[in-house]
């Protein structure tokens, strides 16, 4: 095994590419770690995210393809949403395609003169002019890209942006293989900035298994595979999938409804995982390398003529998108949710941010802070047609109001009013009104994601108001998640991959870590990521948690402002110290070398 990472660096300004060998595998592992390492190397820290030379990084890990559910790719970039270092994760075929193309990472820098599609295989790089795809939606773009290079049907991953990304909506996603996404923090916007409409990754090469390790590797693989398919821990993800959480969270009074005016509604039955599975589920598909198959695809049958004229749409659904365009917008209808999700997909928006943005706009309109002349569509909770117009307007930005809303809900709230009910925790909230720990965790989290620390489960498990206990939970979770996301594994596989299994897997493919050594690398990666976030402008002390979070009732009653403020203050201190200590350590190392 080559000890350095093999990275393809594509310079879109020059139209040339370079194979580079970056640092050492033992230093950065891969995925989250590698992305942070590459960002330090390639990013222009004092320039804004719109600078053409800011890198867009795709990174995989040491277990990618080797083991089940090691199926994710990490995207690293300076976020056009908040100008800070950001990560977003996606599966589909992207991870295995990059692995079999023979690279640990792909870095895209520069800005193409014309709309461009990059194709990468083991023996080819193509920088293709695709000006004719301008403005084309995600599905049509995907179909056209299948005819482009490299041609390797079935063994490629096709990444693309829609009109939202081209128009620089700050929360544009990158669609991966039709049903998966680098959803959050504006990865799609970075492609828009670069004039990059699509990326094709072609997995056309092979790695021969080390004869000395093959026996042990196969043994470990079989053990893990058996756990995945037989232990039952993964069954829920295939069965109802993540939407199985809608009813339990609604029962708990923790499901945000109508811009978080409420946390419970009897209408939940119509958008529950059970209802989707019974009435709308067409089939499940999987990310490459994952036998679970958690990607749920709904069938939307639509009449378009007076006679019996029908068309059908296949729309993927999950808990978060159902929350974002369902409960959050008061849309208590499965077909209504799928209709909106299909639009979100075509436009290439991040479903969570788009839904939450429209929820804020609806309440702002109700309260008279904005007018119908501004919203153009008569936004009203539950009105699917109005929200279809709203989504299109976010992507197309026909007026000043939508230009502002396309920069983020809080940007719009600061301009038009309604900051107290803008459901933003670092970015538009994910669907968990579970309490103080979650609010602080998302607001201060590295990715501002529910997946940073999983604090929504701490809210549900613990009733204490002990800030030390909460911060310890978040830190422990983050340690593990940094490790898993450096492998790069799917976070649904947490039970299959406790740390000892990850160590065993790493050892079986030739990484000679022991537990202490691995812990030390993870600590370094974690600190480094935080140092990058602070270096690019993160000021946790200034992050505001809107008052809506203090007003709303959960099963515990209202949030405790004193506890939330203490937790936020202490957590901010822990994060700042970690980043600053690491920064000092790096500076000391640089001086001594």
């Amino acid at each position: 095994m080559q000890n350095r990472f093999k990275v393809m660096v594509v310079d879109l300004s020059r139209g040339k590419s370079t194979v580079e060998y970056f640092d050492t595998r033992n230093a950065w592992l891969g995925g989250s770690g590698l992305s942070a390492g590459l960002f330090s190397h390639y990013a222009l820290m004092d320039e804004d995210p719109f600078h053409p030379d800011q890198p867009l990084i795709l990174a995989i890990g040491p277990l990618t393809g080797y083991f089940p559910l090691m199926s994710k790719t990490v995207l690293g970039f300076m976020s056009p949403y908040n100008s800070q270092y950001a990560e977003s994760h996606a599966g589909g075929r992207s991870a295995l395609a990059l692995k079999f193309a023979g690279y640990d990472a792909l870095v895209l820098k520069g800005r193409a003169r014309k709309l461009t599609c990059v194709g990468l295989g083991s023996k080819e790089v193509h920088i293709q002019d695709v000006h004719f795809l301008k403005g084309m939606n995600i599905f049509k773009t995907g179909k056209k890209m299948r005819t482009m290079k490299p041609r390797n049907p079935g063994h490629r991953s096709i990444l693309r942006i829609g009109p939202a990304g081209e128009n620089l909506v700050r929360y544009s996603c990158i669609n991966v293989d039709t049903y998966r996404h680098f959803g959050r923090m504006g990865g799609g916007t970075v492609m828009g900035i670069k004039n990059l409409k699509g990326i094709i990754l072609s997995g056309d090469s092979h790695m021969e298994l080390d004869p000395d390790l093959r026996k042990e590797y196969t043994k470990v693989y079989d053990e893990i595979y058996t756990q995945v398919v037989q232990s039952g821990t993964m069954r829920k993800y295939h069965d109802l999938g993540t939407p199985e959480n809608l009813i339990p969270l609604n029962e708990l009074h923790a499901l945000p409804w109508r811009n978080l005016q409420s946390t419970h509604d009897p209408g939940v039955e119509a958008i529950s995982g059970e209802t989707f599975a019974r009435d709308l589920l067409l089939r499940q598909v999987a990310c490459a390398g994952c036998p679970v198959g958690c990607v749920h695809i709904g069938l939307l049958r639509e009449r378009f003529g007076k006679e019996h004229e029908f068309l059908y749409r296949q729309v993927s659904y999950d808990y978060e998108p159902i929350f974002a365009v369902g409960s959050m917008l008061g849309v208590a209808s499965g077909p209504g949710v799928l209709t909106l999700l299909e639009d979100v997909e075509k436009l290439g928006l991040d479903a969570i941010s788009a839904g939450v943005a429209l929820a804020w706009a609806t309440e702002a309109l109700e309260k008279g802070l904005i007018t119908k002349e501004q919203t153009l569509a008569p936004l009203e909770f539950g009105d699917v047609q109005a929200y279809r117009e709203g989504l299109r307007n976010i992507a197309e930005q026909p007026n000043e109001f939508y230009k502002t809303l396309a920069m983020g809900t809080m940007v719009a709230a600061e301009k038009f009013g309604g900051e107290d009910f803008a459901c933003v925790l670092g970015q538009e909230m994910a669907g968990y009104a579970t309490g103080e720990n979650y609010y602080v965790s998302q607001a201060l989290g590295l990715r501002h994601s529910h997946l940073d620390t999983g604090a929504y489960s701490f809210d549900q498990e613990k009733d204490s108001k002990d800030t030390v206990e909460a911060i310890n939970f978040m830190q422990d979770q983050e340690d593990y998640r940094v490790l898993m996301c450096s492998m790069v594994g799917c976070l649904f596989a947490r039970k299959v991959y406790p740390k000892n299994n990850l160590l065993k897997a790493l050892n079986s493919v030739g990484y000679e870590f022991n537990e202490n050594e691995l812990d030390a690398v993870v600590k370094k990666i974690k600190s480094h990521r935080w140092a990058l976030k602070f270096r690019t402008g993160f000021k946790p002390e200034e992050v505001k948690i809107p008052s809506r979070y203090l007003e709303v009732q959960t099963w515990k009653g209202k949030a405790d402002p004193d506890y939330m403020n203490r937790l936020k203050k202490e957590y901010a201190k822990v994060l700042r110290e970690m980043a600053e200590n690491w920064q000092k350590e790096m500076e000391a190392n640089n001086e001594s070398s």
Partner: protein, 141 residues
């Protein structure tokens, strides 16, 4: 003699566990392509998946096309490959009527299904089966 069949591909979720198992256990590789069973979507994931796999022809056109008997007819259908007889000409892959032979560009040898059945247990949705070759076929032989 059994052969590999793919009777339930409509259940396939596109996880590639079968291909990866074949690459790992038969071809000692980590690969999507170096596998006797290749999963492809037919026009994007929204249209479902197909398995590209040897249909166990008898007589096998690939064996007929092989000029050096490196591929020989397998009893019950399919072929047996003997690497030391192979002159790396690639005629077998061209002759396969269903495009089920991947001619490995590094090894310059055919990668194909040997009907060993090792992929079957890795399919989480029972898309694959090892089936006994019908008796009539045996009698006809």
């Amino acid at each position: 003699m059994k052969v590999l069949r793919t009777p339930h591909m409509e259940r396939c979720i596109g996880c590639y566990s079968c291909s990866l198992a074949c690459a790992r256990s038969v071809y000692k590789s980590l690969s999507w392509k170096r596998a006797g069973i290749q999963i492809r979507s037919s026009g994007g994931i929204s249209t479902g998946f197909e398995a590209g796999v040897c249909l166990a022809c008898d007589p096998a056109p690939c064996a007929s096309a092989c000029p050096t008997d490196a591929l020989r007819q397998r009893k019950g259908g399919g072929v047996i490959f003997r690497e030391k007889l192979c002159i790396n000409c690639g005629e077998c892959a061209k002759a396969c009527p269903v495009d089920a032979i991947y001619f490995d560009p590094e090894w310059n040898t055919p990668v194909l299904c040997i009907h060993c059945g090792r992929c079957v247990s890795f399919c989480p949705h029972d898309c694959l089966e090892m089936v006994e070759v019908p008796k009539e076929k045996k009698n006809a032989e």
